[in-house]
Symmetry: D2
């Protein structure tokens, strides 16, 4: 653990921007999931295999995003995932979007583990190890 790629990079296209050329507020969420899923895959894990392999599934409880600086078409952005909170059966990840050293947006997603009867269940150790390898983000 420790060398998995916990970020994705992308350039803003016209389809990412609204009528005045500013990045559309909703585009960040899909990049959060892409960054998370590909990082998890880099750790040898895949959410859709959790039920069969680990006897659990992970649900998204909530998502959010704060918009801190404007991004415009052709900007090159980086989305990095970090750990905000690791509980017994749930965890919160942060997603920092930056353009060079300017933070454009900061997202959070809260995840919870359930067994196949939909009851709270501890984070499996393989997933817990992956979470522990992430950089820690301050909750803000």
């Amino acid at each position: 653990m420790g060398k998995e790629k916990n970020f994705q990079e992308f350039g803003l296209a016209y389809g990412d921007c609204d009528a005045i050329g500013i990045s559309y507020f909703a585009i960040y969420y899909r990049w959060m999931e892409r960054t998370y899923s590909l990082w998890l895959h880099d750790c040898g894990l895949a959410s859709h295999e959790f039920p069969e392999k680990l006897g659990i599934y992970v649900v998204g409880f909530s998502s959010e995003c704060r918009y801190l600086n404007q991004a415009v078409v052709f900007d090159w952005l980086r989305c990095e995932v970090g750990l905000i909170h690791r509980g017994n059966s749930s965890y919160i990840l942060g997603y920092q979007f930056t353009r060079s050293d300017v933070t454009i947006a900061f997202g959070k997603i809260k995840y919870a583990c359930r067994d196949l009867e939909h009851r709270k269940v501890e984070i499996p150790s393989s997933l817990d190890d992956a979470l522990a390898s992430l950089p820690v983000f301050q909750d803000s």
Copy 2:
């Protein structure tokens, strides 16, 4: 057959439009699928159940869209699905996007039926009946 809802309606939001307020070219494709899938569901059919229920699956071969008139934010559009071609193992559906009586865009998707060993297979009768109930669109 015959009273199934073969259209969807929607208003254009900022997220559907590009930097100069014109509808973004890619938005039409998701509305084609929505119109098709909900119409099929209205006919009592669901693509994701085809393998189990009918021993086949349907693949999309190609999609296309021609842009005929501009649509802008707040326009109310209608997407209607119709039949362009019904072959032995494949079919082509058309998707007409209109604002009042102006055609904004015209899409086409070609679908093909495969058995579970990925060989060409005849369109199952339940799906064929559904296709036959659609209005016929001229290929253009």
Copy 3:
């Protein structure tokens, strides 16, 4: 004021759902904006005209969504916008997604008014009147 359409309805298509057939977490945000923008348009207002007509612009400060019940492909959902908070220069709107009488998700977006020099500015009266006409949603 008072009879403006403050909701939108839509059926879940395959493109709205993830690999296990559950609605994808990010789809709700675009429907929040669609519901908001079309409602505002129904009130005679358009965000992209605010700079020219009202000498202000409105920025999104943050967005969030809590996922309360699962929705699956073909579900018919309704997104209704309501008022959570109306301040001097900012306001918070809520977005309730329901399937019949089950709440599927609850979203919030915080908006702030700025003058053309990017300073805080009071909500213009025409926008304030529109906000006042919305049903009040409890913050939850």
Copy 4:
């Protein structure tokens, strides 16, 4: 001309895939536009500045995509833009999506140049030079 980046790369996330884990047919179009717009920007050009800088605008006439091989979640794809046809006032670009050396999908977009009175107009030389620098794709 000649060293501009005419491709983009991305990993498939859950949000890109449908209910059976296969890439959703509509996702390719936004990547075509991203690849095109960022390449054009690399050439020193920006579509939204064409009216002011060149006295023209470019419209999309049609788009299409053929699906050749299935891609699944976590696949790493490359989208490369090439030239299919360069006419007097219009041009056709091809978009080849590959996973390693397997072609997943092949897209085409037809563009046309218009002056500000919406009449056909010759491709401006700066844009023409950029197009001439692209690799040539066979129309297929």
